[in-house]
């Protein structure tokens, strides 16, 4: 629960953003991020909350790194951590995913 996961903001509605996490769209909360967030921004998310806006210069490298992590199959601890960070964003069905 430590790695967080980056995603691209698709839309913003009040304190909630719809974010694209490597093809999965989920809601993430914006009440603890320290910068204004708009459509097209990339944010790092932890347990369902955006915690940092990723500076433009770092987006490519950050995504490449997580792509690398997510290429690992289930059972790899770091990949599982990132996947559960995606689950932590709203809109999914946590119980099914957790017990699968």
């Amino acid at each position: 629960m430590c790695l967080g996961v980056p995603g691209k903001v698709v839309s913003v509605s009040g304190q909630v953003a719809l974010v694209d996490f490597f093809g999965v769209r989920r809601e993430t909360r914006l009440d603890v991020i320290d910068e204004p967030v708009e459509r097209g921004d990339y944010v790092l998310n932890h347990v369902g909350f955006a915690i940092r806006k990723i500076p433009a210069a770092d987006i490519g490298e950050t995504l490449a790194l997580y792509e690398l992590l997510l290429r690992e199959a289930g059972g790899d601890m770091m990949a599982d951590d990132v996947r559960s960070e995606i689950e932590a964003a709203g809109g999914g069905r946590p119980e099914e995913a957790a017990r699968a």
């Binding site: 629960m1 009440d31 603890v32 932890h46 915690i51 500076p55 790194l65 960070e85 932590a88 957790a98």
Partner: protein, 378 residues
Amino acid sequence: MPETLARDAASELKFRDPVQARALIAALEHVLDEIGRDRVSVMHVCGSHEQSIAKFGLRSALPRRLSVIMGPGCPVCVTDMPEVDEAVALALDGKVVATYGDMLKVPGTAMSLAEAEAQGARVEIVYSASQAIDLARGTDEEVVFFASGFETTAVATAAVVLESDMPPNFSVLSAHKYIPPVMEIVAEMPGTSVEGFLAAGHAATITGSAIFERFVERHGIPVVVAGFEPLDILAGLLKLVELIRDGSAAVANTFPRCVTAEGNLVAQERLWRVFRATGGNWRGIAHVPNGNLRLRDEFAELDARVRFEIDLRRLWGHAPHTLLQSCVCGDIMAGIATPIDCDLFGKECLPGNPVGACMVSNEGTCKIWHQYGGHPEL
């Protein structure tokens, strides 16, 4: 899909390039030569760091003189048994207990939440504090969010506690822990000879690297904030041994991509508006002054410890797991033992049937070592 995905070998090389890794290791050798001692020990406090170290076999590649120990970097593992007991008692008492998945099998004095569930208690896995509060909105039953994690994760709990339309049946049982104070305890433990700390990059995204300044001043040993990829870790270790060589007790940040000195001030404000740091036991380690995060008095009505009379007497009839007496999880978390010092590791204690907390969580040293080949030091 985001357009900048790079699935090619170039991106792999960028983070895991063996040529760069060898250069960093050679530089480490050189600095250790300059230090000139048989052993230099440093500690990290992050499950993700340990996962990366074990998965990529970094310990076998590192100079043998450099000992990299995992300390209390697993929040689930350091959750004290009486804290689990409180959650178990509430669950057995008919409350719906919502918690992060890896808390389920963590042993309490009498039983784990998974065992309580097997006895008919209702325990729900959530991935976020928001899902816990949503659960409360969908039921009339009392929902208790058994909240674990270090300060980074406590921020999410704080944000939920500050919501304006709080359902009346939602409360929080906080087992959140605050990492800087335990570094002070571990640094002074007899039996440890830690000369520097590697701090977790992502946790410091919120707290900022400056949070370690006070520790460095008080203890005179350096702290380096590092990322979790193999090259990030090697670069962090190199900076750390350079500071040790120079006798420089300083905070360095080798992960500026994610971490600033001041961190996320909005998140910190939320965290400290909701929580106060108070002393408490960490499993197997010690009483840690200011090591526990508990709800402030203003939020007493959301505090499960205030709202409910938590009756632990019903647990008195249950004997603890006899194997637990041989578990050395506490010593492992303190950095004075490794999983292979434990007679149960990989035998009676396995991920599918864990005896101690360190085999339960993905951030626990035992589970990580078991997953990536037993003893990554060899």
